[in-house]
């Protein structure tokens, strides 16, 4: 497991590409039925309010981005969770058929007081082509290499 990514490996300025996902109407409606059952997320025929037609729940995009973070980075890193999200912006409606790309930019790093782990401040951006549809800043934690007895 010496190839795991530890806190020590993160530096401000790094950009991680975390994959793409083609969103379908079926998964928009399936997610909404369970967690966010409002007409604009449930009904392909709905043209309600300012979203103007079927659009993904913003929370669905959060869950999708988490999955992309795990598959694209955390699964090969000493990830130990996150204390929260500073700010998240849903900037554009996201539709069935959109291909979404997730990118994570390291803004800062901060070792915890106990020294066994550290916080990495990321700005995660979800892109549809050149359009940033969602953006958020959070501080996931990673174990330190020395504390893990590795390398």
């Amino acid at each position: 497991m010496t190839d795991l990514i530890y806190f020590d490996d993160f530096q401000a300025g790094q950009v991680y590409q975390l994959g793409t996902h083609l969103l379908t109407a079926e998964e928009i409606m399936e997610f909404a039925a369970e967690f966010d059952p409002q007409p604009q997320h449930l009904d392909a025929g709905a043209a309600t309010g300012i979203l103007g037609g079927l659009a993904a729940s913003g929370w669905h995009l959060c869950a999708l981005s988490m999955r992309m973070m795990v598959d694209g980075l955390f699964c090969r890193a000493a990830s130990v969770g996150a204390p929260g999200v500073d700010e998240l912006q849903w900037r554009k409606p996201v539709r069935a058929g959109d291909t979404l790309r997730l990118e994570g930019e390291v803004l800062a790093t901060r070792k915890s007081s106990k020294g066994a782990r550290g916080y990495v401040q990321f700005r995660f951006s979800m892109w549809r082509g050149e359009e940033r549809v969602m953006m958020f800043v959070c501080w996931p934690m990673f174990g330190c290499r020395a504390a893990a007895g590795a390398g």
């Binding site: 369970e34 967690f35 966010d36 059952p37 409002q38 007409p39 604009q40 309600t48 309010g49 300012i50 979203l51 729940s57 913003g58 929370w59 959060c62 869950a63 999708l64 988490m66 999955r67 795990v70 955390f74 699964c75 990830s79 130990v80 969770g81 996150a82 204390p83 929260g84 999200v85 500073d86 700010e87 998240l88 912006q89 849903w90 900037r91 958020f136």
Partner: protein, 157 residues
């Protein structure tokens, strides 16, 4: 019958509902959206800093949305005055996963309207901010965040 942004009062803390997290629903959620060992694998979780399975923070967050919609639908069905449209949100802030949520815990969520702001990019709407808490069975604060929702302003006569 709805109300406009101008008519929405601040304050009025309400309990929006409760949800019991189980090993089964924690693992099922995490396998789909957050498949990290401390959410899906009991043995690996026991060796993690958490000492056992904990819920994905996003599950804690999404359950809030699920309960909020149910709470709102119940209020509408009961004939209470609500806002004009479905919720549309430009995002949220200060989301805090304060304590691990473990199997068997029941989390009770509350919401209180705390601020009204202008929203420059859509001036026909106003922004309502709510402070939300998730409390465990013994009253410990495990989750909090500020939600944001856009509400239509009263049209000019």
């Amino acid at each position: 019958m709805g109300v406009w942004f101008e008519d929405v009062p601040l304050g009025g803390k309400v309990t929006i509902g409760s949800y019991t997290f189980t090993e089964e629903n924690i693992i099922a959620f995490a396998k789909k959206y957050d498949p990290q060992p401390f959410h899906i694998d009991k043995e690996a979780a026991a060796l993690s800093p958490y000492g056992g399975i904990i819920a994905s923070g996003w599950q804690t967050a999404l359950v809030w949305m699920k309960l909020m919609i149910a709470h709102r639908n119940a209020a509408v069905a009961a004939g209470e005055v609500r806002t004009q449209e479905n919720y549309v949100s430009p995002g949220f802030r200060d989301l805090k996963w304060l304590k691990p949520v473990r199997p068997g815990m029941t989390i009770t969520y509350t919401n209180e309207s705390v601020a009204k702001r202008d929203w420059k990019s859509l001036p026909q709407y106003g922004l309502l901010e709510g402070y939300n808490e998730g409390l465990s069975d013994d009253g410990t604060l495990v989750y909090s965040f500020i939600n944001r929702v856009l509400i239509a302003r009263k049209p000019a006569e």
